[in-house]
């Protein structure tokens, strides 16, 4: 992959002393094309879509329709109306946790490494409906055990399987195809949290056959405050309305209302049109680079970083030892050094930006009695040279704090 060519698209990497950004699992940098798309909306037609028939309003409506097409293509959805725009993955999962029909005794299955966004909404839903939330534990090396999963499915009436496709903690992916297939065998609805998957690998929802797939824009070069919730036409019909109001109804009387069809039914209120347009530009950009290419590049970087990390004293890497199983994420801790000190010192001393803490997966850290970790997460614009700088900085950090 010609990283140098793609780096030129990111204004933040074109400064005299560019930062080294390794916090892509949180949010990626934005390329010029995304910034321009949003700027064009704000400057040329910053008005309402889906309702005003004036020339500006019509332009917004067309732009959103085009964005929906791009999103459908991005996940290979069969129909554009299977795509709902929302604020982020968290909102998508909350929508599902509120709108899926759950009742007493139903089981909701998640893994033990779920981001809080794919954990707390289900915990709340379980409390609200007297359903049961059950955790499928991963193996000691963080990889998914299909046998444990199968046993969990067989143990009772599993209604929902909600799992992260790729963990933001250690980068390990679940065998999504198999997970979906097994869940359907047991009649469960499958919700895939693809926040860490969609930006890094090709996503074919038709092949996956998942009922719902949700991801955010800000992790794939798009603007923050944007996300996509895909659902099959059949799956959408099972949902109760979530947020309603403007844009979700075709007509109302003082006593009745008539809801619009999906996707409008689930896109209440005036939308973040600049964000949606920017998100479409981001998805086009990522596909221009090529997600297969991105995945290969990240694996290469991860292998390179892992090899160097293993040379440093006191470093423990979370997840499997083989970097090929950890996508673009390498998460580690040094028991004698505070993770935030590592992150802040790397930032201040070497301009290397990493993530420290529990990465919104508190439950896993509490269960393992680990304070937290430092996470390096790579993307298409990162280079091995940057990793060299990071590791040199890390060596100094260890020398100072140990």
């Amino acid at each position: 992959m010609d990283t140098d060519r793609w780096r030129q698209d990111f204004p933040l990497l074109q400064t005299a002393k560019p930062l080294i950004y390794f916090d892509n699992a949180c949010a990626t940098l934005k390329p010029e094309s995304v910034l321009q798309a949003m700027d064009t909306y704000n400057r040329e037609f910053p008005t309402c879509g889906g309702r005003s028939v004036n020339r500006l309003g019509s332009r917004v409506t067309k732009a959103v329709q085009a964005a929906r097409k791009v999103a459908a293509r991005f996940v290979n959805a069969a129909h554009e109306d299977e795509i709902v725009f929302l604020r982020n993955t968290t909102e998508g999962i909350n929508l599902l946790a509120h709108s899926l029909s759950l009742s007493e005794g139903d089981i909701i299955l998640t893994t033990d490494k779920e981001h809080n966004s794919n954990l707390v909404p289900w915990q709340l839903a379980a409390k609200r409906t007297n359903a049961k939330h059950q955790v499928v534990r991963t193996q000691d090396d963080g990889t998914f055990s299909i046998d444990v999963y199968r046993a969990a499915l067989a143990s009772g009436s599993v209604k929902v399987v909600a799992m992260g496709m790729t963990s933001n903690l250690d980068g390990v992916s679940i065998p999504a195809q198999e997970v979906v297939s097994l869940a359907h065998e047991y009649g469960a609805v499958v919700v895939l949290d693809a926040a860490q998957a969609a930006p890094h690998q090709l996503l074919d929802v038709q092949k996956l056959e998942a009922d719902f797939v949700v991801f955010s824009g800000h992790k794939l070069c798009g603007p923050s405050g944007t996300g996509v919730l895909y659902g099959t036409r059949a799956a959408w019909t099972t949902l109760q309305p979530f947020l309603v109001g403007g844009s979700t109804v075709s007509s109302t009387t003082y006593t009745e209302y008539e809801l619009l069809q999906v996707p409008e039914r689930f896109e209440a209120g005036l939308q973040d049109y600049a964000g949606i347009i920017g998100l479409a530009a981001a998805m086009e950009y990522v596909d221009l680079v090529g997600r297969d290419e991105i995945a290969r590049h990240e694996h290469k970087l991860n292998a390179y970083a892992t090899a160097q990390l293993e040379q440093l004293s006191g470093v423990t890497i979370l997840g499997p030892t083989d970097p090929a199983e950890r996508g673009g994420i390498v998460s580690f801790y040094i028991p004698t050094i505070d993770m935030h000190q590592i992150a802040i010192t790397l930032d201040t001393a070497s301009s290397v930006l990493v993530r420290s803490g529990q990465h919104c997966v508190h439950s896993w850290f509490h269960d393992r009695d680990i304070v937290g970790s430092v996470r390096l997460s790579f993307y298409l614009y990162n280079t091995t040279d940057e990793i060299d700088v990071c590791m040199a900085g890390l060596e100094k950090v260890i020398a100072v704090y140990s």
């Binding site: 505070d338 935030h340 000190q341 590592i342 992150a343 802040i344 010192t345 790397l346 930032d347 201040t348 001393a349 070497s350 900085g393 100094k396 950090v397 020398a399 100072v400 704090y401």
Partner: protein, 314 residues
């Protein structure tokens, strides 16, 4: 300890910056946990330490390692210095409010609240001794109470003085800038508190030395309102005018004085001796410039704000 020192510093910086206010709040949260015997779980110390060590790492690994190793000790040292500075600052602010100088009464060292030193400025005495001071070697004791209306002697000040009540002795010269700056304040004090007032003309330049005898003679001729009006007019006159003896006698005439009597009085041997003795008496106080006020027998050097004199008189 890092959160204590950080809070002290950030709280002050937070007055000017919202970023520092947020950090100060974080530090305060950490302090709250520490004082309630709970561990500080905000990671605040680690963040601050990380920033400092990171910054130092760019320059010297050895220094960064040293700071990291002794961070707690250094934090204690800075904490003590900060508290000490805070105490000094509060004391300085109090001194400035109370005495017009951060360093205390009559201390003319640099004060950040009065950077130009205007509250402590004096007109230095630079008159050659032989011009009008037959003996100004200091230490020669003379009879006190030459002008003061109460039993106050300036000799061997302050050991020999008994604290007076509502007494204001103003030593200054008509042409001196700082005395002239002080005079409106003195007038305001006279109007408000009506203290027993004594003005001693103590010239710092020979051009107006002759005024001492004239003012004394005028006082003897009419010690009350007319004399105060005369003082007023002399302070309102320009230094150049004051150097002109005829100009001064015109004022005397205007104020209703018998000019020929004043001339004779001022030229008399008695007055010459009086002026010399008064001069000696003032010098014996250790005066080094004007204005010098004795407010209820406390010496105050330089043109202080009104509040300083008010505190003393009250």
């Amino acid at each position: 300890m890092a959160c204590f020192i950080a809070f002290a510093v950030l709280a002050v910086m937070g007055i000017f910056s919202s970023t520092h206010r947020a950090l100060a709040r974080e530090a305060f949260g950490c302090i709250t946990r520490r004082v309630t015997l709970r561990p500080c779980d905000t990671g605040f110390k680690e963040k601050i330490q990380g920033h400092m060590v990171g910054w130092l790492l760019r320059r010297s690994t050895r220094v960064a390692r040293f700071i990291n190793r002794y961070f707690e000790v250094l934090a204690w040292i800075f904490f003590i210095i900060t508290i000490w500075s805070l105490v000094i600052s509060v004391e300085g602010a109090y001194n400035f409010y109370r005495y017009g100088s951060c360093n205390g009464l009559n201390d003319s060292s640099f004060c950040v609240l009065d950077p130009t030193g205007s509250n402590s400025g004096v007109s230095a005495i630079d008159v050659p001794d032989d011009v009008f001071l037959p003996s100004c070697s200091g230490g020669e004791e003379v009879e006190g109470g030459l002008l003061s209306k109460v039993p106050l002697t300036l000799n061997r000040y302050p050991q020999m003085n008994i604290r007076t009540d509502n007494e204001l002795v103003f030593v200054g010269c008509f042409e001196c800038a700082y005395t002239r700056k002080t005079y409106p304040t003195v007038s305001r004090l006279l109007a408000t508190y009506e203290p027993a007032f004594t003005f001693i003309h103590h010239p710092t330049k020979p051009t107006t030395a002759y005024l001492t005898g004239i003012v004394q003679c005028a006082y003897e001729a009419s010690p009350e309102q007319e004399w105060l009006q005369l003082i007023d007019r002399l302070f309102m006159s320009t230094p150049d005018d004051l150097a002109d003896e005829d100009y001064v006698y015109d004022i005397l005439l205007d104020e209703g004085y018998e000019v020929s009597d004043i001339r004779d009085c001022a030229a008399s041997e008695r007055m010459e001796q009086f002026v010399a003795k008064q001069r000696q008496e003032v010098i014996n106080t250790g005066i080094y410039g004007t204005p010098l006020l004795f407010v209820n027998s406390t010496p105050v050097v330089g043109p202080k704000p009104y509040r300083v004199y008010r505190f003393m008189l009250r």
